[in-house]
């Protein structure tokens, strides 16, 4: 899941980015309004965390432009303005959620996870596919009764494929939703990680969970 953080106060930005990354999200961050709008419109983010008082371009304007541009990314407004009218204004501008500073990091993470699930019309935090079970809250994976230990990147890849189970997902999409701008990798790295993942979750004498569709991409749990 890929998240954009637009927050101009560096301590908050740094901490939120760190917290999100450690929770398995791919995170891009900026402290400038215009840069934030550019990020948000040139990429398909699952969740955008948006501060309202920003230099360059304020949060509500970014939100308006984003919606005018047809972007459906789930937006969580993060602000020190706590008046009801401010919340209503934010939500009416097309925001999906609102969190007032100061906030608990845990709550922010939970809300971001919920918004990310909603991005794929998934409500159950526990994703199941045959005997594969993914607990998105704890970021743990089981095959049957056996727990599988994945790296953060592997987990992010599996979670994204599971969120879109049954669909064909292109390398570019995977790359856009699992990797950050700052990562040097290109979309070829996706193949490498899919390989790692397969080695951990496929079991002998069973059909592979991740199917490769040549020239199209990958699919998790698609029927033959």
């Amino acid at each position: 899941m890929r998240v954009l953080v637009v927050e101009d106060y560096p301590p908050i930005r740094k901490a939120v980015v760190k917290g999100l990354r450690e929770a398995g999200f791919a995170v891009d961050a900026t402290g400038d309004g215009e840069e934030g709008l550019w990020y948000a419109t040139s990429n398909d983010y699952d969740v955008v965390i948006l501060d309202l008082m920003l230099p360059g371009l304020d949060g509500l304007t970014i939100l308006k432009r984003l919606r005018e541009d047809g972007r459906t990314a789930h937006v969580l407004i993060l602000t020190a303005k706590d008046a009801v009218s401010d919340r209503v204004k934010g939500l009416d501008h097309g925001a999906d959620d609102y969190l007032v500073k100061p906030f608990a990091l845990e709550e922010l993470l939970a809300r971001v996870r919920a918004l990310a699930r909603r991005a794929y019309c998934v409500k159950n935090p526990c994703l199941e596919l045959g005997d594969l079970r993914i607990e998105t809250t704890a970021q743990r994976v089981w095959i049957g009764s056996e727990e599988v230990y994945l790296t953060a990147r592997e987990y992010a890849l599996l979670e994204y494929l599971a969120m879109r189970k049954g669909e064909v997902v292109s390398r570019t999409e995977i790359w856009e939703h699992v990797y950050e701008f700052s990562s040097e990798a290109d979309s070829n790295v996706v193949d490498v990680y899919v390989g790692y993942l397969r080695r951990k979750i496929d079991r002998p004498h069973r059909p592979p969970l991740i199917r490769t569709l040549r020239g199209k991409g990958y699919s998790l749990g698609a029927s033959e």
Binding site: D8, Y9, P11, I12, A15, V16, M53, A80, K101, P102
Partner: protein, 467 residues
């Protein structure tokens, strides 16, 4: 003692009314009773004239001959009137039939001029008497013109009916006065209530002003002219209160915002640090970050407090003559090393004798804030220029720095509280945008002014203080 305006008005009105009515009634009583008495006397005199006409003089002497029908009032048996005629020598010429035993007292004045007086009638009734001294007219048959002899006459009549009339008038006047007073009291009460109704309306309107919405003003329309100045003053007061509350609210909101943001940063940083076991270096980094945030909070809190004090007028000023050159030098000293490291040139063109008359602490704060601001936003390798001059009544200080990324239209906003227009500010993260707002407030407090201009990537601040 507390007394309502209504009671006071009513009391004064009734007091005046009672006095007026009593005087009026007394005058009416006097006039009426006098005119009644005059009427009575006239009738009495007419009776006397009838009697006097019956007295004739001829050669043989003076005679009194009268027909009973001419003056029946003297001949009736019940409550008759009385008369008595005397010769000039005091002998009785004639008397009314009612006067059997006792006689009457003589009452004489100048001839042919009637004299009146109250009298007690022979039968004991209260009455009034008229005395008339006259010369009886001569008989036609009298040939000799003997020396005319005067006759004196007294007629007395019972005043019972006159007194009854006067009594009636007295009662009538008393009743009328009392009635008028009662009616006046009622009318007065109604009038006072009507007259004070705008006061009640005003009270209701004042009561309707709520603490959380002081923007309401009391309307002047349909208010009596006397109330308009009062309402005007009240509205002024409301206006000032509203301003004060608005400032208070704005300050609270600003303070809340300005403290929430670093608090959020602090909490976030600490929570992330605790998320999982980390190395000592990681913890050290988190602690350093938190310390920076705390410094920011401290600065923000102090600035907010200073700003609040100036805005509420709590701070007392001690104006003195200040050496501005020295203030600038001492203000720049802490910034020198960092500026030098960033390659910033500092060019101060100040005359030797640069002075102003102002509070030292406030002026120092202005100078330090402007210098730090300039040092903060000047681009690496940029330039800060300071020039100053004294005129007869003011000190003008111009501080310009290069590397400004704001547009010309942003210039008026730089003094807004918490306005953060400069993106470079977000990279340092230790400025909260209070500095210039505080400078403007402080300059106003000192009786000066401050303005900003942005042109060719140069940010110029003009500070004017009284000399």
């Amino acid at each position: 003692m507390m007394m309502s305006v209504r009671t006071r008005l009513l009391l004064w009105m009734m007091g005046g009314m009672v006095l007026l009515l009593i005087v009026f009634a007394a005058v009416v009583y006097e006039v009426l009773s006098r005119s009644l008495l005059e009427g009575f006397d006239e009738v009495l005199l007419a009776s006397a004239r009838t009697i006097s006409a019956a007295v004739e003089r001829d050669d043989s002497g003076i005679r009194f001959e009268m027909d009973e029908r001419q003056a029946p009032e003297f001949y009736r048996t019940i409550k008759p009137d009385y008369f008595q005629l005397w010769f000039a020598d005091g002998g009785i010429l004639a008397r009314s039939p009612g006067l059997t035993r006792s006689g009457m007292e003589q009452l004489s004045g100048p001839p042919d001029i009637p004299v009146f007086r109250p009298a007690k009638l022979p039968d004991g009734r209260a009455g009034r008497a008229v005395g008339l001294v006259f010369t009886p007219k001569a008989d036609e048959e009298a040939k000799t013109a003997a020396t005319p002899k005067q006759v004196s006459l007294v007629v007395e009549r019972d005043t019972g009916s006159l007194e009854a009339s006067i009594r009636f008038i007295r009662w009538l006047l008393a009743a009328a006065t009392a009635g008028t007073l009662v009616l006046a009291l009622l009318a007065g009460a109604v009038a006072v209530r009507q007259g004070l109704r705008p006061l009640d309306a005003l009270a209701a309107r004042i009561a309707a002003v709520r603490q959380d919405d002081l923007s309401a003003r009391i309307p002047v329309e349909r208010m009596p002219a006397e109330m308009i100045p009062v309402i005007g003053r009240l509205n002024d007061l409301l206006c000032r209160l509203d301003d004060a509350f608005r400032r208070e609210r704005a300050f609270t909101a600003d303070a809340a915002h300005e403290l929430r943001t670093p608090l959020a940063g602090l909490r976030c940083t600490l929570e992330v640090a605790l998320l999982q076991p980390r190395t000592g270096a990681d913890y050290r980094e988190a602690i350093t970050e938190c310390l920076g945030v705390v410094q920011h909070m401290q600065g923000a809190a102090e600035s907010l407090l200073a700003l609040a004090r100036y805005e509420s007028g709590q701070a007392t000023l001690h104006p003195e003559v200040l050496d501005v050159r020295e203030l600038i030098e001492s203000g720049w000293r802490p910034l020198v090393d960092r500026a030098r490291a960033r390659g910033i040139a500092f060019d101060a063109r100040l005359p030797m004798d640069l002075r102003c008359r102002a509070d030292r602490d406030v002026t120092q704060m202005i100078v330090v804030a402007l210098l730090s601001n300039a040092a903060e936003y000047t681009n690496d390798g940029g330039r800060i220029e300071i020039s100053g001059r004294n005129s007869a009544e003011s000190l003008e200080l111009v501080i310009a720095n290069t590397g400004c990324s704001l547009s010309e239209q942003d210039a008026p906003h730089v003094f807004d509280r918490f306005w953060r227009g400069d993106r470079s500010r977000t990279h340092t993260g230790i400025h909260c945008g209070l500095g210039l707002a505080l400078v403007q407030r402080s300059a106003t407090v000192l009786g000066g002014s401050v303005s900003a201009r942005i042109a060719d990537e140069t940010f110029t601040v003009h500070l004017i203080l009284p000399a």
